[in-house]
Assembly symmetry: C2
Homo-oligomer: 541 residues x 2
C-alpha cells in the first residue's frame, strides 16, 4: 500500500478491503456471461487494473479460443467508451455483448466481424434503461407498488475508477462521471480502483441519481452553472468487494491541427450565429454550446475563441482541449460535461491554471449532461459530425455503407433532437485512392438513418451553410445541394433530384427513385469513387 | 347577435368587436402570403366561419387559378390538423405552405402533387420553433438580452375557436388546445370564433405558456393529474380585430369496429404488460398510457378495458372514444390530452356523464401533452402505428414508398423517443388487388425513416410481439421476423437477412445488401405484390 493510496482512501472500512493482487479478484468474482459495468467516458476515467488482470487471466487459461468450451465473455456496459484496456479485452474476445458506445480498433473489429454483439443507445437513456431491468429480463426488481428503491441486481459487478474516498465513505470520482452513479446503484458487487497518479478531483462533480418512474422528479436546472447534486457518491459499502490501487494513466492522443476546410466551416457557423444575434433569435452570449469530438468540432470552438463572443456557456458531454482557449481569453463562463477528455498537453495546461479554471468546470452524470429535458429547456446549440447526410436532411452517424459500425449514436441524437439549434457539420468530400473527391458527404439517400429530417436545423460544410429551418423537403434539397455539396457533386445530386421529381407524379412530397438512390455507393464499390470517376474526368479538377 | 352568444362573450371590449359579416374580415385583414395560425388538433376545435369565408372570397374573386396572377395563398399553421374547412381551402389551392401535420384528402393531394409545400414537425416542438422566429426569418424579435417577452409578430393572424370569454377577458377554449396559446401570443392580429353549438368547457383546461430560452422554466409535473396552469387564456385584447359567432360543428367520422387481428395485437400487448408487472418493471396500474389514432390503437385500449387493470392513467395527445369504456368501468383515473376527439356517439356519451367524467379529463397545450421532458419523467407507455418497420427496428410513419406523404410525424416521434416503453403496432400484411397478402408491414429496409432502431422497445403484429430491448441488430432481425412477420413473408425476409450476412464480411453490425433492400417495393410496383406474387403461388395459401 503506497503512502499516497492510504492518504486517498480515508474511509477505514474501504481501506480494509484493499486487495493487492488483482488476479485474485478476477478468480473470485468474475464468471462467464456476467453483466459488468465499467466507469469511463470517451476513453477517460475507466478502470485499468482489473481489465488488465482479466486479460492476463484469460490468456493464461486459454479462454475464448476458437472451438474451446472454456469461455470468459461478458455483457459489458461502459458509460460511453473505455480506454485502451477495453481494446485489450476485445483482442482477447472477452466481450460477448456491448452497449451503448465504443471507440477502439479492436472492439470495432470484433463488432464488425460478428464476434461481439453491440447495440448503440442514446447516452442519457442507457443508464436508465439498465436500471429499468431492460437488459437482463430474467431478474425481478424491487416492487414499485411498495418502494421507490432502484434495483441493485442489474449488474453482477461494477468496476469504477475513483480519485479518492472520504472518511464518510463518499467516493470522489475522477475526470469522468458517465454512468458510474447508476452502475454503483445497480450492481451486486463493486470494485473500486483508486488512481493515485492523477489529482484528487474533489469539488468538480455535481452528482444526481434519478429514481425510476413513477417516482422520478424534475431535473430543476435552469442555468448551466447551477449545482443541485452532491460532490461525492454515497454507496452501500457492503457491496464493495475490493479496492485496488491504480497507477495507470489514461492515454488521449493529440488532436489533429485545424485545417483550411474546418476553419471555413467554423467561419460559416460564426457568421450564422452573428446573424441570429442580430435578429434577436439568440442573446449576445449565444446559448449553451454542445460540441462533438473531432477536428471540425475543435475548429469551431477555436473559431469562437477568436470571434469576440463573451460570457459563453458550454453544456456538452465532453470537455476538450479547445475549450481551454476560451478559458484563457476569458470568454467562457462555465463548462458542464460528463468527461474531461484532455490531451497530456491540455491536462498540464489545466493543471497550471487549476485554481481559477477548475471552478468553471462541472462534471455531471451522462443522464444529466445529455438529458433531453435540459437540452430543450436551456435551448442548446448542438453541433455534431455525421458520416453523411442526404439531400432531404437525414443523417447517418453510425453505419458506413448501412452496415459497418463506427462508434455508435453517442450523444448526437439526444442533443440534435432536443437542442434549439441542431447543427451538423462535415467536410463535403473525402479522397479515395483513385479520386481526390471520391467520397461525398452529401448523398441522395443515406444508407443508415440516425438523425431524421425532423431533427436538423442547419447543415454546414466548407462550401457553406444550409439553413433548413422552416423548409419543406424539396426546398431543403436545393438548399443543401447548392450551399453544401462540393461543386463536383452538385450536378450529380441535382440530376438525381430532378429525375426523381419527374418520376414522382402524385408523390411529390419527398421525391425519390428507390432504384437509383444508392447508386453512388455502387460506384464507390465498383469504380473507387462515388461520382463514377473516370481517368479522363481528372483534368477537369 | 344570438342570446347565447351574448351570454358566452361576457367581456365588454370583446363583445364590441363582434363582426357579423365574415367576408368583411377577410377583405380587411387577409393578404396573399401571410403567416396564419388556426386553432384545432386532430380535426377538433378549429375555426370554421373564417375558413369558409376565405374560400368564398377566393372563389368569388377567381384567385389562385392556374396562370392567374391574383393569388391568396397562406403559410398555414395548425396545432396538428384542422377539420373539413381546411380541406375546402386546399381544394381552392389556398395553402402555399403547411406545417406540422395534416389530415384530409384535399390537403394531402395538394402536398403530393407539389402544389403545397409541407414539412412535418414534432408536435411539441413546433409551437416553440414558431416562437423562436424560425419560420419567418426576416423578422426581428424582442431583444433577449433585455426582456423575456415572446415575439408577437411571428404570425400575421391567429384564428381560434373558443367556447366562451369571461368578464375578465379570459378565453375559455373548447375541445382542443393544440398550439392556441402560442398562436395567440405570437400573432399580430387575433380573430376569435365563439362556437355556440357546443358546451362552454370551463374547468377542463390546464394552460401553460413557456418562455423562450434562456428564460424557460421546468415543467414541474410529476403526476398526470397535477394542474399547474390556468383554466383560461389571457391575451392582449388590443390584438383582437374581430369576434364572430360560429354555429358549425366538428365532424368526426365513426370508428371502424375492432377486427380479429387488432384484437390479437391487443392481447399480445396485455400479456406483455402483465409480464412486466410480474417482474416489477411496472407498477400494477402500469404507467401513463399514450395511444395513437386508429383501429389498432382503439382495440388496444378496448382490450385494456377488459383485462382487470385498475387506476390506469392516460397521458396522450388525443382523447378518443375507447377511453370512455375505461371511465365507464372505473379503471381509468385520469386522462390528459390536448384534444377530445370523439365521434358524435362518444360526445353524447361524455355529455351524459359530464359531471363525473369531465373531472378526470385535462386538456393541455401540445407543448405540454407531447413534451419529451414529461414523457420521459412520467415513464409513459407509448403505442403508435407505423406505415412499416424493417428487420432492424427502424420505422416509417410518414412517407409511403419513401416519397408520398400521409399525415406527418405527429406525436409519434416525441412519444417513442422519450417513453419508457416505446411500442409500435400494426397488422402484418395488407391486401393488394391481386394478392390478399400483397403488402407486408415488415420489410428489409424501410423506404423512409422516422423512428430509428434506437427508439423502439417492442413491435407487435397479430402474429406476436417482438421484445427488442437489449438486443443487437442481428438479434432484433430474427426476433422481428420470427415473432411479427406474416408466415408468407418470413422465408423471404430470412433469405434477405442471411444473404446480407454472407455479403457483409467485416461489416456485420447491421448486414444489408443495398442492391436488394428495396426489391419488395419493385415487386409491388411491377407485379402487384411485395412477394413477387404469381398466380400459381395462390394455391399455397
Amino acid at each position: 500500500m503506497s503512502a499516497i493510496f492510504k492518504n486517498r482512501v480515508r474511509n477505514k472500512i474501504l481501506l480494509n478491503k484493499l486487495v493487492e493482487n488483482p488476479l485474485e479478484i478476477v478468480k473470485t468474482h468474475f464468471r462467464d456471461k456476467q453483466h459488468i459495468g465499467f466507469s469511463g467516458f470517451t476513453g477517460i476515467g475507466g478502470p485499468k487494473v482489473i481489465p488488465n488482470a482479466l486479460c492476463e487471466y484469460t490468456r493464461h487459461h486459454h479462454l475464448n479460443m476458437p472451438g474451446s468450451e472454456k469461455q470468459m465473455r461478458f455483457n459489458l456496459y461502459v458509460g460511453a467508451s473505455c480506454g485502451v484496456e477495453e481494446d485489450k479485452m476485445a483482442l482477447e474476445n472477452m466481450i460477448l455483448k456491448r452497449t451503448p458506445h465504443q471507440v477502439g480498433k479492436q472492439i470495432r473489429k470484433r463488432i464488425n466481424s460478428g464476434d461481439t454483439l453491440f447495440f448503440d443507445k442514446n447516452l442519457s437513456l442507457f443508464p436508465q434503461e439498465l436500471l429499468y431491468g431492460f437488459y437482463n429480463k430474467d431478474l425481478t426488481l424491487p416492487d414499485p407498488n411498495k418502494t421507490d428503491a432502484l434495483p441493485s441486481n442489474v449488474l453482477d459487478i461494477a468496476v469504477i475508477e475513483a480519485t479518492g474516498i472520504d472518511e464518510d465513505g463518499g467516493i470522489i470520482l475522477g475526470p469522468s462521471v458517465g454512468a458510474t452513479p447508476e452502475f454503483l446503484a445497480g450492481a451486486s458487487k463493486i470494485i473500486i480502483e483508486v488512481n493515485t497518479t492523477i489529482k484528487e478531483m474533489k469539488g468538480l462533480h455535481d452528482l444526481v441519481l434519478q429514481k425510476n418512474p413513477p417516482y422520478r422528479q424534475p431535473l430543476n436546472y435552469t442555468k448551466v452553472d447551477q449545482r443541485l447534486g452532491s460532490e461525492k457518491l454515497y454507496i452501500d459499502l457492503n457491496k464493495v468487494v475490493a479496492v485496488v490501487e491504480s497507477q495507470i494513466e489514461d492515454h488521449i492522443p493529440d488532436n489533429t491541427p485545424a485545417d483550411e476546410n474546418s476553419a471555413k466551416i467554423a467561419s460559416h457557423l460564426i457568421t450564422f450565429f452573428k446573424n441570429e444575434v442580430k435578429h434577436n433569435r439568440m442573446p449576445k452570449n449565444l446559448l449553451p454550446l454542445q460540441s462533438g469530438i473531432g477536428n471540425v468540432a475543435n475548429s469551431v470552438i477555436g473559431g469562437l475563441a477568436n470571434s469576440g463572443f463573451k460570457n459563453l456557456q458550454v453544456f456538452t458531454e465532453v470537455f476538450q482541449d479547445s475549450f481551454l482557449d476560451l478559458f484563457a481569453n476569458g470568454s467562457l463562463d462555465v463548462a458542464s460535461s460528463t468527461s474531461i477528455r484532455l490531451t497530456p498537453k491540455g491536462m498540464s495546461r489545466l493543471s497550471q491554471n487549476w485554481d481559477s479554471w477548475s471552478k468553471k468546470i462541472i462534471l455531471r452524470p451522462q443522464t444529466v449532461s445529455n438529458n433531453p429535458e435540459l437540452i430543450r429547456r436551456l435551448g442548446c446549440i448542438a453541433m455534431n459530425t455525421p458520416v453523411e447526410v442526404d439531400i432531404y436532411g437525414h443523417a447517418n452517424s453510425t453505419c458506413v455503407l448501412g452496415s459497418k459500425m463506427l462508434n455508435g449514436i453517442g450523444g448526437s441524437r439526444e442533443f440534435l433532437t432536443s437542442a434549439k439549434y441542431s447543427i451538423m457539420h462535415t467536410i463535403s468530400t473525402r479522397p479515395t485512392p483513385t479520386d481526390p473527391y471520391g467520397i461525398t458527404s452529401i448523398v441522395p439517400f443515406v444508407s443508415h438513418v440516425d438523425q431524421t429530417e425532423h431533427d436538423i436545423d442547419a447543415f454546414v460544410t466548407e462550401q457553406g451553410l444550409a439553413d433548413l429551418r422552416g423548409l419543406a423537403p424539396r426546398e431543403r434539397a436545393l438548399e443543401i445541394i447548392n450551399k453544401c455539396a462540393h461543386p463536383v457533386y452538385r450536378p450529380i445530386l441535382l440530376k438525381y433530384f430532378n429525375d426523381s421529381i419527374k418520376r414522382c407524379n402524385g408523390k411529390m412530397h419527398e421525391p425519390h427513385d428507390l432504384h437509383k438512390c444508392f447508386e453512388m455507393y455502387f460506384n464507390l464499390e465498383e469504380r473507387g469513387s462515388m461520382r463514377a470517376f473516370k481517368k479522363t474526368d481528372e483534368k477537369l479538377h
